[in-house]
Subunit: 321 residues, 2 copies
Protein backbone atom coordinates (compact mmCIF):
# COMPACT_ATOMS: atom_id res chain seq x y z
CA UNK A 1 0.00 0.00 0.00
CA UNK A 2 2.85 2.37 0.80
CA UNK A 3 4.77 1.11 -2.25
CA UNK A 4 7.92 0.33 -0.26
CA UNK A 5 9.86 -2.82 0.66
CA UNK A 6 9.26 -4.83 3.82
CA UNK A 7 12.67 -3.83 5.17
CA UNK A 8 11.70 -0.17 4.78
CA UNK A 9 8.52 -0.78 6.79
CA UNK A 10 10.69 -2.46 9.40
CA UNK A 11 13.02 0.55 9.52
CA UNK A 12 10.07 2.90 10.05
CA UNK A 13 8.37 0.76 12.65
CA UNK A 14 11.48 -0.02 14.63
CA UNK A 15 13.08 3.36 14.00
CA UNK A 16 16.27 1.42 13.35
CA UNK A 17 17.78 3.23 10.35
CA UNK A 18 17.20 6.65 8.78
CA UNK A 19 14.28 6.77 6.32
CA UNK A 20 13.20 9.53 3.96
CA UNK A 21 10.48 11.60 5.71
CA UNK A 22 8.02 11.24 2.82
CA UNK A 23 8.48 7.46 2.84
CA UNK A 24 8.02 7.41 6.60
CA UNK A 25 4.70 9.27 6.29
CA UNK A 26 3.45 6.90 3.57
CA UNK A 27 4.28 3.88 5.72
CA UNK A 28 2.65 5.35 8.82
CA UNK A 29 -0.49 6.21 6.83
CA UNK A 30 -0.68 2.65 5.48
CA UNK A 31 -0.23 1.29 8.99
CA UNK A 32 -3.06 3.49 10.20
CA UNK A 33 -5.38 2.47 7.37
CA UNK A 34 -4.74 -1.25 7.63
CA UNK A 35 -4.88 -1.10 11.42
CA UNK A 36 -1.61 -3.02 11.36
CA UNK A 37 -0.04 -3.03 14.79
CA UNK A 38 3.71 -3.20 14.80
CA UNK A 39 5.01 -5.70 17.31
CA UNK A 40 6.73 -3.01 19.33
CA UNK A 41 7.62 -5.43 22.07
CA UNK A 42 9.36 -7.97 19.90
CA UNK A 43 8.09 -10.90 21.90
CA UNK A 44 5.67 -12.36 19.38
CA UNK A 45 8.50 -12.69 16.90
CA UNK A 46 10.70 -14.79 19.14
CA UNK A 47 7.80 -16.94 20.27
CA UNK A 48 6.66 -17.76 16.75
CA UNK A 49 2.91 -18.16 16.66
CA UNK A 50 0.79 -17.64 19.74
CA UNK A 51 0.57 -20.54 22.17
CA UNK A 52 -2.83 -19.75 23.55
CA UNK A 53 -5.10 -21.85 25.72
CA UNK A 54 -8.60 -20.63 26.57
CA UNK A 55 -10.56 -21.26 29.77
CA UNK A 56 -14.34 -20.95 29.48
CA UNK A 57 -15.70 -20.73 33.00
CA UNK A 58 -18.78 -19.35 34.75
CA UNK A 59 -18.19 -16.02 36.40
CA UNK A 60 -18.21 -15.58 40.14
CA UNK A 61 -19.61 -19.04 40.79
CA UNK A 62 -17.55 -20.38 43.64
CA UNK A 63 -13.95 -20.69 44.67
CA UNK A 64 -13.54 -24.37 43.84
CA UNK A 65 -13.78 -23.43 40.17
CA UNK A 66 -11.25 -20.67 40.83
CA UNK A 67 -8.85 -23.38 42.00
CA UNK A 68 -9.30 -25.10 38.63
CA UNK A 69 -7.87 -21.98 36.95
CA UNK A 70 -4.86 -21.94 39.28
CA UNK A 71 -4.04 -25.54 38.34
CA UNK A 72 -4.56 -24.93 34.64
CA UNK A 73 -2.27 -21.90 34.75
CA UNK A 74 0.49 -23.72 36.63
CA UNK A 75 0.76 -26.46 34.03
CA UNK A 76 0.13 -24.23 31.01
CA UNK A 77 2.95 -21.88 32.05
CA UNK A 78 5.30 -24.80 32.60
CA UNK A 79 4.75 -25.91 29.01
CA UNK A 80 5.00 -22.40 27.60
CA UNK A 81 1.33 -21.69 26.90
CA UNK A 82 -0.50 -18.44 27.59
CA UNK A 83 -3.94 -18.44 29.17
CA UNK A 84 -6.93 -16.27 28.39
CA UNK A 85 -10.18 -16.56 30.29
CA UNK A 86 -13.74 -16.13 29.10
CA UNK A 87 -16.13 -15.51 32.00
CA UNK A 88 -19.61 -16.74 31.10
CA UNK A 89 -22.90 -16.07 32.84
CA UNK A 90 -23.51 -19.82 32.96
CA UNK A 91 -25.90 -19.91 29.99
CA UNK A 92 -25.23 -22.14 26.98
CA UNK A 93 -25.50 -19.08 24.74
CA UNK A 94 -22.73 -17.27 26.57
CA UNK A 95 -20.56 -20.42 26.57
CA UNK A 96 -20.98 -20.87 22.81
CA UNK A 97 -20.09 -17.21 22.35
CA UNK A 98 -16.71 -17.79 23.98
CA UNK A 99 -16.04 -21.00 22.02
CA UNK A 100 -16.58 -18.90 18.94
CA UNK A 101 -14.52 -15.92 20.11
CA UNK A 102 -11.62 -18.17 21.14
CA UNK A 103 -11.79 -19.82 17.73
CA UNK A 104 -11.32 -16.38 16.16
CA UNK A 105 -8.46 -15.68 18.55
CA UNK A 106 -6.94 -18.99 17.46
CA UNK A 107 -6.55 -20.68 20.81
CA UNK A 108 -4.84 -24.03 20.32
CA UNK A 109 -7.17 -25.64 22.83
CA UNK A 110 -9.86 -24.83 25.40
CA UNK A 111 -10.77 -26.06 28.85
CA UNK A 112 -14.49 -25.88 29.44
CA UNK A 113 -15.67 -25.56 33.02
CA UNK A 114 -19.41 -25.86 32.68
CA UNK A 115 -22.15 -27.74 34.42
CA UNK A 116 -23.43 -29.98 31.64
CA UNK A 117 -22.12 -30.73 28.15
CA UNK A 118 -25.06 -30.06 25.87
CA UNK A 119 -25.45 -31.14 22.25
CA UNK A 120 -24.75 -27.53 21.19
CA UNK A 121 -21.36 -27.58 22.93
CA UNK A 122 -20.36 -30.83 21.27
CA UNK A 123 -21.37 -29.50 17.87
CA UNK A 124 -19.45 -26.28 18.42
CA UNK A 125 -16.31 -28.14 19.54
CA UNK A 126 -16.61 -30.37 16.49
CA UNK A 127 -17.18 -27.46 14.09
CA UNK A 128 -14.28 -25.33 15.30
CA UNK A 129 -11.97 -28.33 15.49
CA UNK A 130 -10.25 -26.85 18.56
CA UNK A 131 -9.25 -29.52 21.11
CA UNK A 132 -11.28 -29.27 24.31
CA UNK A 133 -11.13 -30.83 27.79
CA UNK A 134 -13.94 -30.68 30.35
CA UNK A 135 -13.18 -29.87 33.98
CA UNK A 136 -15.79 -30.44 36.67
CA UNK A 137 -18.00 -32.97 34.91
CA UNK A 138 -17.79 -36.35 33.24
CA UNK A 139 -17.74 -36.33 29.46
CA UNK A 140 -20.09 -38.68 27.62
CA UNK A 141 -17.93 -38.26 24.51
CA UNK A 142 -14.61 -40.11 24.24
CA UNK A 143 -13.22 -37.43 21.88
CA UNK A 144 -13.62 -34.85 24.66
CA UNK A 145 -11.62 -35.93 27.75
CA UNK A 146 -12.78 -34.86 31.21
CA UNK A 147 -11.55 -34.55 34.79
CA UNK A 148 -13.56 -34.45 38.00
CA UNK A 149 -13.91 -36.61 41.13
CA UNK A 150 -16.01 -39.67 41.93
CA UNK A 151 -18.99 -37.76 43.25
CA UNK A 152 -21.15 -40.81 43.87
CA UNK A 153 -18.56 -42.52 46.08
CA UNK A 154 -17.58 -39.31 47.89
CA UNK A 155 -21.23 -38.63 48.79
CA UNK A 156 -21.76 -42.27 49.74
CA UNK A 157 -18.87 -42.01 52.18
CA UNK A 158 -20.02 -38.72 53.72
CA UNK A 159 -23.52 -40.07 54.41
CA UNK A 160 -22.11 -43.40 55.63
CA UNK A 161 -19.99 -41.43 58.13
CA UNK A 162 -23.19 -39.89 59.55
CA UNK A 163 -24.84 -43.32 59.72
CA UNK A 164 -21.83 -44.74 61.58
CA UNK A 165 -22.12 -41.92 64.12
CA UNK A 166 -25.67 -43.05 64.84
CA UNK A 167 -27.73 -40.81 62.56
CA UNK A 168 -30.72 -42.39 60.84
CA UNK A 169 -32.74 -39.27 60.04
CA UNK A 170 -30.59 -37.68 57.37
CA UNK A 171 -31.84 -34.94 55.05
CA UNK A 172 -30.20 -33.68 51.86
CA UNK A 173 -30.07 -30.22 50.34
CA UNK A 174 -29.28 -31.08 46.73
CA UNK A 175 -28.47 -29.00 43.68
CA UNK A 176 -31.21 -29.15 41.05
CA UNK A 177 -30.77 -31.15 37.89
CA UNK A 178 -28.78 -34.20 36.88
CA UNK A 179 -25.30 -32.64 36.83
CA UNK A 180 -22.50 -34.19 38.92
CA UNK A 181 -23.28 -31.81 41.78
CA UNK A 182 -27.00 -32.52 41.59
CA UNK A 183 -27.53 -36.05 40.31
CA UNK A 184 -24.31 -37.87 41.30
CA UNK A 185 -24.15 -36.49 44.84
CA UNK A 186 -27.80 -37.38 45.38
CA UNK A 187 -27.19 -40.88 44.03
CA UNK A 188 -24.41 -41.47 46.60
CA UNK A 189 -26.72 -40.24 49.39
CA UNK A 190 -29.48 -42.63 48.29
CA UNK A 191 -27.09 -45.57 47.97
CA UNK A 192 -25.69 -45.05 51.48
CA UNK A 193 -29.19 -45.02 53.00
CA UNK A 194 -30.16 -48.10 51.02
CA UNK A 195 -27.05 -50.06 52.05
CA UNK A 196 -27.80 -49.20 55.71
CA UNK A 197 -31.42 -50.27 55.18
CA UNK A 198 -32.71 -46.83 56.08
CA UNK A 199 -35.91 -46.07 54.14
CA UNK A 200 -35.45 -42.88 52.09
CA UNK A 201 -37.80 -40.02 52.97
CA UNK A 202 -38.32 -37.78 49.98
CA UNK A 203 -39.77 -34.94 52.08
CA UNK A 204 -36.25 -34.51 53.52
CA UNK A 205 -34.65 -34.07 50.11
CA UNK A 206 -34.98 -30.43 49.00
CA UNK A 207 -33.63 -28.95 45.79
CA UNK A 208 -31.66 -25.73 46.08
CA UNK A 209 -29.86 -23.08 44.06
CA UNK A 210 -26.15 -22.47 44.65
CA UNK A 211 -26.15 -19.39 46.88
CA UNK A 212 -25.88 -19.25 50.66
CA UNK A 213 -29.40 -17.79 50.73
CA UNK A 214 -30.72 -20.69 48.66
CA UNK A 215 -29.22 -23.05 51.26
CA UNK A 216 -31.01 -21.17 54.06
CA UNK A 217 -34.33 -21.39 52.22
CA UNK A 218 -33.90 -25.13 51.64
CA UNK A 219 -33.07 -25.70 55.33
CA UNK A 220 -36.19 -23.77 56.32
CA UNK A 221 -38.31 -26.03 54.10
CA UNK A 222 -36.81 -29.14 55.72
CA UNK A 223 -37.42 -27.81 59.24
CA UNK A 224 -41.06 -27.14 58.38
CA UNK A 225 -41.72 -30.86 57.79
CA UNK A 226 -43.74 -32.84 60.32
CA UNK A 227 -40.59 -34.50 61.73
CA UNK A 228 -37.06 -33.16 61.85
CA UNK A 229 -33.82 -34.80 60.70
CA UNK A 230 -30.77 -35.06 63.00
CA UNK A 231 -28.31 -34.43 60.16
CA UNK A 232 -28.24 -32.80 56.74
CA UNK A 233 -25.89 -33.54 53.84
CA UNK A 234 -25.50 -30.68 51.31
CA UNK A 235 -24.42 -30.67 47.63
CA UNK A 236 -22.00 -27.77 48.27
CA UNK A 237 -20.39 -25.86 51.13
CA UNK A 238 -22.30 -22.74 50.21
CA UNK A 239 -25.63 -24.49 50.69
CA UNK A 240 -24.30 -25.95 53.96
CA UNK A 241 -23.30 -22.50 55.25
CA UNK A 242 -26.78 -21.25 54.37
CA UNK A 243 -28.27 -24.21 56.24
CA UNK A 244 -26.10 -23.49 59.31
CA UNK A 245 -27.06 -19.82 59.23
CA UNK A 246 -30.76 -20.69 59.17
CA UNK A 247 -30.32 -23.08 62.12
CA UNK A 248 -28.32 -20.42 64.01
CA UNK A 249 -31.01 -17.81 63.35
CA UNK A 250 -33.85 -20.00 64.72
CA UNK A 251 -31.80 -20.82 67.82
CA UNK A 252 -30.68 -24.37 67.03
CA UNK A 253 -27.10 -25.49 67.62
CA UNK A 254 -24.77 -27.20 65.15
CA UNK A 255 -23.79 -30.00 65.77
CA UNK A 256 -25.62 -30.55 69.11
CA UNK A 257 -29.10 -30.31 67.54
CA UNK A 258 -28.31 -31.03 63.90
CA UNK A 259 -25.12 -32.15 62.15
CA UNK A 260 -24.25 -30.53 58.81
CA UNK A 261 -21.90 -31.79 56.05
CA UNK A 262 -20.85 -29.75 53.04
CA UNK A 263 -19.02 -30.64 49.84
CA UNK A 264 -15.96 -29.05 48.14
CA UNK A 265 -14.03 -28.08 51.28
CA UNK A 266 -13.88 -24.52 49.98
CA UNK A 267 -12.22 -21.75 52.01
CA UNK A 268 -15.65 -21.10 53.55
CA UNK A 269 -15.60 -24.43 55.38
CA UNK A 270 -12.78 -23.38 57.69
CA UNK A 271 -13.90 -19.75 58.05
CA UNK A 272 -17.41 -20.29 59.40
CA UNK A 273 -18.09 -21.04 63.07
CA UNK A 274 -18.54 -23.91 63.75
CA UNK A 275 -16.10 -25.15 61.09
CA UNK A 276 -17.78 -27.24 58.47
CA UNK A 277 -17.21 -30.96 57.91
CA UNK A 278 -16.86 -31.26 54.13
CA UNK A 279 -15.72 -33.48 51.26
CA UNK A 280 -12.19 -32.44 50.32
CA UNK A 281 -10.59 -32.77 46.89
CA UNK A 282 -8.13 -30.60 45.03
CA UNK A 283 -9.61 -28.23 42.45
CA UNK A 284 -6.04 -27.27 41.58
CA UNK A 285 -5.31 -30.91 40.75
CA UNK A 286 -8.40 -31.08 38.53
CA UNK A 287 -7.12 -28.02 36.68
CA UNK A 288 -3.60 -29.41 36.38
CA UNK A 289 -4.81 -32.75 35.03
CA UNK A 290 -7.15 -31.04 32.57
CA UNK A 291 -4.29 -28.86 31.31
CA UNK A 292 -2.01 -31.88 30.85
CA UNK A 293 -4.73 -33.67 28.89
CA UNK A 294 -5.33 -30.62 26.71
CA UNK A 295 -1.64 -30.28 25.91
CA UNK A 296 -1.63 -33.93 24.84
CA UNK A 297 -4.58 -33.27 22.52
CA UNK A 298 -2.87 -30.19 21.10
CA UNK A 299 0.18 -32.32 20.29
CA UNK A 300 -2.06 -34.84 18.54
CA UNK A 301 -1.73 -37.49 21.23
CA UNK A 302 -4.58 -39.56 22.65
CA UNK A 303 -5.84 -39.25 26.21
CA UNK A 304 -6.76 -42.55 27.88
CA UNK A 305 -8.82 -43.16 29.87
CA UNK A 306 -10.93 -40.31 28.57
CA UNK A 307 -12.23 -39.54 32.08
CA UNK A 308 -10.07 -39.15 35.21
CA UNK A 309 -11.02 -38.66 38.85
CA UNK A 310 -8.88 -36.89 41.46
CA UNK A 311 -8.73 -38.16 45.04
CA UNK A 312 -11.26 -37.18 47.71
CA UNK A 313 -11.81 -37.70 51.45
CA UNK A 314 -14.10 -36.49 54.20
CA UNK A 315 -12.54 -33.65 56.21
CA UNK A 316 -14.20 -33.93 59.63
CA UNK A 317 -14.51 -30.65 61.56
CA UNK A 318 -16.88 -29.20 64.13
CA UNK A 319 -20.26 -29.29 62.36
CA UNK A 320 -20.87 -33.02 62.83
CA UNK A 321 -21.18 -35.28 65.85
CA UNK B 1 -0.43 -21.31 -2.67
CA UNK B 2 -3.04 -23.74 -3.92
CA UNK B 3 -3.22 -21.87 -7.24
CA UNK B 4 -7.01 -21.49 -7.12
CA UNK B 5 -9.45 -18.58 -6.83
CA UNK B 6 -10.78 -17.27 -3.50
CA UNK B 7 -14.27 -18.46 -4.37
CA UNK B 8 -12.90 -21.97 -4.83
CA UNK B 9 -11.32 -21.84 -1.39
CA UNK B 10 -14.67 -20.69 -0.06
CA UNK B 11 -16.42 -23.62 -1.74
CA UNK B 12 -13.99 -26.08 -0.18
CA UNK B 13 -14.09 -24.54 3.27
CA UNK B 14 -17.83 -24.14 3.39
CA UNK B 15 -18.54 -27.29 1.42
CA UNK B 16 -21.08 -25.19 -0.46
CA UNK B 17 -20.63 -26.35 -4.06
CA UNK B 18 -18.99 -29.38 -5.69
CA UNK B 19 -15.23 -29.04 -6.21
CA UNK B 20 -12.84 -31.28 -8.11
CA UNK B 21 -11.24 -33.72 -5.60
CA UNK B 22 -7.69 -32.79 -6.63
CA UNK B 23 -8.43 -29.09 -6.15
CA UNK B 24 -9.99 -29.81 -2.77
CA UNK B 25 -6.84 -31.62 -1.62
CA UNK B 26 -4.58 -28.76 -2.77
CA UNK B 27 -6.70 -26.22 -0.88
CA UNK B 28 -6.78 -28.34 2.28
CA UNK B 29 -3.01 -28.82 2.12
CA UNK B 30 -2.46 -25.06 1.77
CA UNK B 31 -4.81 -24.44 4.68
CA UNK B 32 -2.83 -26.88 6.77
CA UNK B 33 0.52 -25.36 5.83
CA UNK B 34 -0.49 -21.76 6.42
CA UNK B 35 -2.37 -22.68 9.59
CA UNK B 36 -5.25 -20.68 8.16
CA UNK B 37 -8.36 -21.30 10.16
CA UNK B 38 -11.50 -21.03 8.10
CA UNK B 39 -14.15 -18.96 9.83
CA UNK B 40 -16.51 -21.91 9.96
CA UNK B 41 -18.91 -20.03 12.15
CA UNK B 42 -19.34 -17.03 9.90
CA UNK B 43 -19.57 -14.60 12.79
CA UNK B 44 -16.22 -12.89 12.39
CA UNK B 45 -17.19 -11.92 8.86
CA UNK B 46 -20.32 -10.10 9.87
CA UNK B 47 -18.61 -8.40 12.81
CA UNK B 48 -15.76 -7.05 10.75
CA UNK B 49 -12.65 -6.82 12.89
CA UNK B 50 -12.58 -8.00 16.47
CA UNK B 51 -13.96 -5.65 19.10
CA UNK B 52 -11.93 -6.90 22.00
CA UNK B 53 -11.47 -5.41 25.46
CA UNK B 54 -9.03 -7.00 27.91
CA UNK B 55 -9.33 -7.14 31.69
CA UNK B 56 -6.07 -7.63 33.59
CA UNK B 57 -6.98 -8.62 37.12
CA UNK B 58 -5.41 -10.51 40.02
CA UNK B 59 -6.62 -14.07 40.34
CA UNK B 60 -8.74 -15.22 43.23
CA UNK B 61 -8.21 -12.06 45.21
CA UNK B 62 -11.62 -11.19 46.53
CA UNK B 63 -15.15 -10.87 45.33
CA UNK B 64 -15.25 -7.09 45.15
CA UNK B 65 -12.86 -7.28 42.22
CA UNK B 66 -15.12 -9.96 40.72
CA UNK B 67 -17.91 -7.39 40.80
CA UNK B 68 -15.71 -5.07 38.73
CA UNK B 69 -15.71 -7.68 35.95
CA UNK B 70 -19.49 -7.99 36.07
CA UNK B 71 -19.85 -4.25 35.57
CA UNK B 72 -17.26 -4.14 32.80
CA UNK B 73 -19.00 -6.98 30.96
CA UNK B 74 -22.43 -5.38 31.23
CA UNK B 75 -21.33 -2.18 29.55
CA UNK B 76 -18.92 -3.80 27.09
CA UNK B 77 -21.65 -6.12 25.80
CA UNK B 78 -24.08 -3.22 25.47
CA UNK B 79 -21.63 -1.46 23.18
CA UNK B 80 -20.79 -4.61 21.21
CA UNK B 81 -17.37 -5.39 22.64
CA UNK B 82 -16.08 -8.82 23.61
CA UNK B 83 -14.18 -9.36 26.85
CA UNK B 84 -11.16 -11.53 27.53
CA UNK B 85 -9.66 -11.82 30.98
CA UNK B 86 -6.03 -12.24 32.01
CA UNK B 87 -5.72 -13.57 35.56
CA UNK B 88 -2.46 -12.40 37.11
CA UNK B 89 -0.74 -13.61 40.26
CA UNK B 90 -0.56 -9.99 41.45
CA UNK B 91 3.09 -9.46 40.49
CA UNK B 92 4.16 -6.66 38.15
CA UNK B 93 5.87 -9.24 35.93
CA UNK B 94 2.68 -11.19 35.42
CA UNK B 95 0.72 -7.97 34.79
CA UNK B 96 3.20 -6.82 32.13
CA UNK B 97 2.97 -10.25 30.54
CA UNK B 98 -0.76 -9.78 30.00
CA UNK B 99 -0.37 -6.22 28.68
CA UNK B 100 1.99 -7.71 26.13
CA UNK B 101 -0.20 -10.72 25.29
CA UNK B 102 -3.28 -8.52 24.87
CA UNK B 103 -1.27 -6.27 22.60
CA UNK B 104 -0.53 -9.29 20.41
CA UNK B 105 -4.19 -10.26 20.51
CA UNK B 106 -5.01 -6.71 19.41
CA UNK B 107 -7.37 -5.69 22.17
CA UNK B 108 -8.70 -2.21 21.45
CA UNK B 109 -8.34 -1.27 25.10
CA UNK B 110 -7.60 -2.74 28.53
CA UNK B 111 -8.93 -2.28 32.03
CA UNK B 112 -6.24 -2.81 34.62
CA UNK B 113 -7.32 -3.92 38.08
CA UNK B 114 -4.11 -3.77 40.03
CA UNK B 115 -3.01 -2.45 43.37
CA UNK B 116 -0.49 0.21 42.35
CA UNK B 117 0.40 1.71 38.97
CA UNK B 118 4.17 1.33 38.73
CA UNK B 119 6.50 3.05 36.29
CA UNK B 120 6.77 -0.22 34.34
CA UNK B 121 3.01 -0.31 33.78
CA UNK B 122 2.94 3.27 32.52
CA UNK B 123 5.83 2.58 30.14
CA UNK B 124 4.15 -0.56 28.84
CA UNK B 125 0.82 1.23 28.27
CA UNK B 126 2.69 3.99 26.47
CA UNK B 127 4.72 1.58 24.32
CA UNK B 128 1.80 -0.56 23.19
CA UNK B 129 -0.36 2.50 22.61
CA UNK B 130 -3.45 0.56 23.74
CA UNK B 131 -5.90 2.74 25.71
CA UNK B 132 -6.10 1.74 29.38
CA UNK B 133 -8.33 2.57 32.34
CA UNK B 134 -7.51 1.72 35.97
CA UNK B 135 -10.18 0.28 38.24
CA UNK B 136 -9.65 0.13 41.99
CA UNK B 137 -7.01 2.81 42.39
CA UNK B 138 -6.41 6.48 41.61
CA UNK B 139 -4.27 7.22 38.58
CA UNK B 140 -1.45 9.72 38.94
CA UNK B 141 -1.40 10.08 35.15
CA UNK B 142 -4.06 12.13 33.39
CA UNK B 143 -3.65 10.06 30.19
CA UNK B 144 -4.76 6.96 32.10
CA UNK B 145 -8.22 7.54 33.62
CA UNK B 146 -9.22 5.73 36.80
CA UNK B 147 -12.27 4.79 38.89
CA UNK B 148 -12.49 3.92 42.56
CA UNK B 149 -14.14 5.40 45.66
CA UNK B 150 -13.12 8.09 48.12
CA UNK B 151 -11.31 5.76 50.51
CA UNK B 152 -10.13 8.48 52.87
CA UNK B 153 -13.62 9.89 53.46
CA UNK B 154 -15.24 6.44 53.67
CA UNK B 155 -12.76 5.37 56.38
CA UNK B 156 -13.11 8.69 58.16
CA UNK B 157 -16.87 8.15 58.37
CA UNK B 158 -16.61 4.54 59.58
CA UNK B 159 -14.27 5.50 62.43
CA UNK B 160 -16.34 8.60 63.25
CA UNK B 161 -19.37 6.32 63.59
CA UNK B 162 -17.49 4.33 66.26
CA UNK B 163 -16.47 7.53 68.05
CA UNK B 164 -20.08 8.76 68.04
CA UNK B 165 -21.16 5.48 69.66
CA UNK B 166 -18.76 6.21 72.53
CA UNK B 167 -15.61 4.34 71.47
CA UNK B 168 -12.28 6.04 72.13
CA UNK B 169 -9.99 3.00 72.05
CA UNK B 170 -10.08 2.12 68.37
CA UNK B 171 -7.54 -0.19 66.73
CA UNK B 172 -6.94 -0.67 63.01
CA UNK B 173 -5.95 -3.76 61.03
CA UNK B 174 -4.54 -2.16 57.90
CA UNK B 175 -3.30 -3.52 54.60
CA UNK B 176 0.43 -3.02 54.13
CA UNK B 177 1.77 -0.39 51.79
CA UNK B 178 0.52 2.90 50.43
CA UNK B 179 -2.18 1.61 48.08
CA UNK B 180 -5.74 2.90 48.41
CA UNK B 181 -6.61 -0.06 50.65
CA UNK B 182 -3.52 0.42 52.82
CA UNK B 183 -2.58 4.12 52.80
CA UNK B 184 -5.88 5.90 52.08
CA UNK B 185 -7.96 3.88 54.52
CA UNK B 186 -5.37 4.40 57.24
CA UNK B 187 -5.32 8.13 56.50
CA UNK B 188 -9.11 8.37 57.04
CA UNK B 189 -8.76 6.47 60.34
CA UNK B 190 -6.05 8.84 61.55
CA UNK B 191 -7.98 11.92 60.50
CA UNK B 192 -11.13 10.81 62.37
CA UNK B 193 -9.16 10.26 65.59
CA UNK B 194 -7.44 13.60 65.21
CA UNK B 195 -10.68 15.51 64.62
CA UNK B 196 -12.14 13.91 67.76
CA UNK B 197 -8.96 14.82 69.66
CA UNK B 198 -8.19 11.18 70.43
CA UNK B 199 -4.42 10.63 70.61
CA UNK B 200 -3.38 7.96 68.07
CA UNK B 201 -1.80 4.82 69.56
CA UNK B 202 0.49 3.19 67.05
CA UNK B 203 0.62 -0.09 68.98
CA UNK B 204 -3.03 -0.58 67.99
CA UNK B 205 -2.33 -0.24 64.27
CA UNK B 206 -1.20 -3.59 62.88
CA UNK B 207 -0.33 -4.32 59.26
CA UNK B 208 -1.88 -7.40 57.71
CA UNK B 209 -2.01 -9.49 54.53
CA UNK B 210 -5.32 -9.95 52.73
CA UNK B 211 -6.42 -13.40 53.88
CA UNK B 212 -8.84 -14.27 56.69
CA UNK B 213 -5.92 -15.94 58.49
CA UNK B 214 -3.83 -12.78 58.20
CA UNK B 215 -6.69 -10.90 59.85
CA UNK B 216 -6.75 -13.40 62.73
CA UNK B 217 -3.01 -13.03 63.24
CA UNK B 218 -3.26 -9.23 63.28
CA UNK B 219 -6.10 -9.36 65.83
CA UNK B 220 -4.02 -11.64 68.03
CA UNK B 221 -1.16 -9.13 67.96
CA UNK B 222 -3.51 -6.32 68.98
CA UNK B 223 -4.95 -8.36 71.85
CA UNK B 224 -1.46 -9.08 73.16
CA UNK B 225 -0.82 -5.37 73.81
CA UNK B 226 -0.78 -4.05 77.38
CA UNK B 227 -4.25 -2.50 76.98
CA UNK B 228 -7.11 -3.62 74.76
CA UNK B 229 -9.19 -1.57 72.33
CA UNK B 230 -13.01 -1.57 72.41
CA UNK B 231 -13.33 -1.47 68.62
CA UNK B 232 -11.31 -2.37 65.55
CA UNK B 233 -11.58 -0.92 62.04
CA UNK B 234 -10.25 -3.18 59.25
CA UNK B 235 -9.00 -2.40 55.71
CA UNK B 236 -11.14 -5.21 54.24
CA UNK B 237 -14.00 -7.53 55.20
CA UNK B 238 -11.70 -10.53 54.97
CA UNK B 239 -9.38 -9.14 57.61
CA UNK B 240 -12.46 -8.27 59.71
CA UNK B 241 -13.80 -11.84 59.47
CA UNK B 242 -10.38 -13.11 60.54
CA UNK B 243 -10.44 -10.68 63.48
CA UNK B 244 -13.93 -11.85 64.51
CA UNK B 245 -12.87 -15.50 64.27
CA UNK B 246 -9.88 -14.87 66.54
CA UNK B 247 -12.09 -13.09 69.08
CA UNK B 248 -14.64 -15.94 68.92
CA UNK B 249 -11.92 -18.53 69.43
CA UNK B 250 -10.55 -16.84 72.58
CA UNK B 251 -14.06 -16.52 74.00
CA UNK B 252 -14.74 -12.81 73.43
CA UNK B 253 -18.06 -11.62 72.05
CA UNK B 254 -18.63 -9.29 69.09
CA UNK B 255 -19.96 -6.62 69.56
CA UNK B 256 -20.43 -6.87 73.36
CA UNK B 257 -16.69 -7.01 74.09
CA UNK B 258 -15.28 -5.54 70.90
CA UNK B 259 -16.93 -3.89 67.89
CA UNK B 260 -15.60 -4.74 64.43
CA UNK B 261 -16.00 -2.82 61.14
CA UNK B 262 -14.97 -4.14 57.74
CA UNK B 263 -14.65 -2.52 54.33
CA UNK B 264 -16.04 -3.52 50.89
CA UNK B 265 -19.37 -4.98 52.07
CA UNK B 266 -18.51 -8.19 50.25
CA UNK B 267 -20.86 -11.20 50.33
CA UNK B 268 -18.94 -12.37 53.41
CA UNK B 269 -20.26 -9.47 55.49
CA UNK B 270 -23.82 -10.78 55.48
CA UNK B 271 -22.89 -14.48 55.69
CA UNK B 272 -20.86 -14.44 58.91
CA UNK B 273 -22.47 -14.48 62.37
CA UNK B 274 -22.69 -11.83 63.71
CA UNK B 275 -23.20 -9.95 60.43
CA UNK B 276 -20.45 -7.48 59.75
CA UNK B 277 -20.82 -3.69 59.72
CA UNK B 278 -18.95 -2.62 56.59
CA UNK B 279 -18.35 0.19 54.10
CA UNK B 280 -20.60 -0.42 51.11
CA UNK B 281 -19.95 0.71 47.53
CA UNK B 282 -20.71 -0.88 44.21
CA UNK B 283 -17.88 -2.79 42.55
CA UNK B 284 -20.21 -3.31 39.60
CA UNK B 285 -20.56 0.45 39.26
CA UNK B 286 -16.77 0.87 39.32
CA UNK B 287 -16.54 -1.68 36.51
CA UNK B 288 -19.32 -0.04 34.51
CA UNK B 289 -17.77 3.42 34.81
CA UNK B 290 -14.33 2.09 33.88
CA UNK B 291 -15.79 0.39 30.79
CA UNK B 292 -17.59 3.59 29.71
CA UNK B 293 -14.35 5.55 30.08
CA UNK B 294 -12.41 2.96 28.10
CA UNK B 295 -14.94 3.01 25.26
CA UNK B 296 -14.55 6.79 25.13
CA UNK B 297 -10.77 6.43 24.88
CA UNK B 298 -11.14 3.80 22.14
CA UNK B 299 -13.30 6.22 20.18
CA UNK B 300 -10.64 8.90 20.57
CA UNK B 301 -12.63 11.00 23.04
CA UNK B 302 -11.26 12.56 26.23
CA UNK B 303 -12.27 11.45 29.72
CA UNK B 304 -12.70 14.30 32.23
CA UNK B 305 -12.21 14.36 35.11
CA UNK B 306 -9.57 11.70 34.73
CA UNK B 307 -10.48 10.16 38.12
CA UNK B 308 -14.03 9.31 39.26
CA UNK B 309 -15.31 8.04 42.59
CA UNK B 310 -18.45 5.93 43.06
CA UNK B 311 -20.73 6.46 46.06
CA UNK B 312 -20.15 4.80 49.45
CA UNK B 313 -21.91 4.52 52.81
CA UNK B 314 -21.56 2.64 56.07
CA UNK B 315 -23.81 -0.44 56.20
CA UNK B 316 -24.45 -0.95 59.91
CA UNK B 317 -25.12 -4.56 60.96
CA UNK B 318 -24.60 -6.63 64.11
CA UNK B 319 -20.82 -6.41 64.68
CA UNK B 320 -20.83 -2.89 66.16
CA UNK B 321 -22.48 -1.30 69.15
Amino acid sequence: MADVSISTVSRVVNNSKPVNEDVRKRVMEAIKQTKYRPDVLGEAETRGNTHLIGIIIPHNSNTVLDDFSIGIRNIAELYGYDIIVGLTDGTVESELHYFNLFHELRTLGNIFVGSVLEKEHTEMIHKTGTPCVLAGQQSPNSAIPSVHLDNVTASYEAVTYLIQRGHRQIAMIRASGESAVGGDRYQGYRQALEDAQIPPREEWVVESGFSVEDGSTAMRKIMERASRPTAVFCSTDWMAVGAMNYLHDIGLRVPEDISVIGFDNSFMASIVRPNLTSVEYSGTEIGMTAARHLIKLIKGETVTPHHSNVAHYLMVRESTE
